[in-house]
Amino acid sequence: MAKARKVPAIIDNPMSFCPGCGHGIVIRLIAECLEELEQDQNLIFALGVGCSSLLGGGLVTDRLHCPHGRASAVATGMKRVQPENTIVAYQGDGDAYSIGIAETINAAYRNENFTMVAINNTNYGMTGGQMSWTTMPGQVTTTSPLGRDCEITGNPLKFPELVASQFDVAFAARGAVTSPKNINKLKKYIKNGLEAQINGEGYSVIEVLSPCPTNWKLSPLNSMKRIEEELIPYYPLGVFKERKEN
């Protein structure tokens, strides 16, 4: 029953995320999929600004630090001129859905042929835990000190659902990193997204519910519990847009 498991070479470096941060799990999954799809030597990352930026030091691969929120536009430029490379935009919820919503939506709208992985940790982690567009109702953050009031700030955004229902994209799903089971499912989603790209099917997005223990001021384990108990009921896991060929 044992499986040989080794962190893929492109990510086999000490990472400077906080203890228990979900970023570390997700990036490893992406690297595993790329390795399995033999794309790990054929790939360019468009990194968002946020704790994603910490990958700048850890990833052994072509990667560009994009301006905050613009990774999907940058990825568009990359893919258009280098269609044979696999392009992954790796962005946080603030990066992809708030400041970058125009570029993010437009990549989906045009069905650009790359894969976006969005780390939804319900806040701006890097800058110390401000409200983001995925912050839960009532959640206390440094810019929603009395708890998020959705009456004036809007309701948490569900991007994969929006994309799946409004645009003609290749694949859209949401996963989580709370348990081995969820992690394995998430990996399948990521792989599907990458395969869609390799096959030229178009835009794929995988959102990940991911803990930010530091800013949530919860232990890593309680952060996972929060995702299970609070986030998943609001942000359902699963595939919102299935690939056509599957």
């Binding site: 400077s16 995320f17 906080c18 704790c51 910490l54 890097m126 110390g128 530091t214």
Partner: protein, 178 residues
């Protein structure tokens, strides 16, 4: 004018140690500045701040020629000990820093087991106050009473008076330990 650097791991509360010092100076009618160092790396790493105080105008609030250094961990000690002014004082948290007290012959190095002391007085989170008090003693500009009053004043304004007794205990402990 006095210049003091407070340095340690992110979680060790050195920024507060420095703040206590600056607050005591203000409380005694002096000028003071407190300036944290912050760089590109947000996660992990060391934290430090520079406090300056004195009766005259403080021109440059940033670190220039520290008279004193508090080094709460090894990396901080390594980074800052060469910068201390000749004739200056270094206080190291001996629970974390294992150093030669004669690392520089023009500077006096004191060792204080801040975390151990904190455990002993049953204030496990009080190591930074202990260190702050010890530094105030070493600097020699303010009495223990001034120090305690200045500190209490600061925490009261932050609405944290409930920790007053505990903080005072830690302060006394640190002040008397050097």
């Amino acid at each position: 004018m006095r210049e003091i650097v407070y340095a340690g791991f992110g979680g060790q509360g050195v920024l507060t140690s420095g703040l206590v010092m600056s607050q005591v100076a203000i409380f005694k009618g002096q000028n003071a500045t407190w300036i944290p160092s912050y760089g590109s790396a947000m996660r992990g790493g060391t934290a430090n701040c520079t406090v300056k105080y004195g009766k005259d105008t403080i021109y440059n609030p940033a670190q220039e020629d520290p008279d004193l250094l508090l080094a709460m961990n090894g990396p901080s000690f390594e980074m800052f000990y060469p910068m201390v002014k000749s004739g200056g004082i270094i206080l190291v948290n001996s629970d974390m820093v294992d150093c030669d007290v004669n690392v520089r012959d023009d500077v006096k190095v004191y060792k204080l087991a801040c975390s151990t002391l904190a455990q002993e007085i049953k204030q496990p989170r009080g190591a930074n106050i202990i260190a702050a008090a010890a530094i105030i003693k070493l600097a020699g500009d303010f009495s223990m009473e001034d120090g305690i009053q200045g500190m209490n004043d600061m925490f009261r304004k932050k609405g944290k008076e409930k920790f007053e007794a505990a903080n005072m205990k830690a302060f006394e402990c640190g002040f008397n330990a050097v």
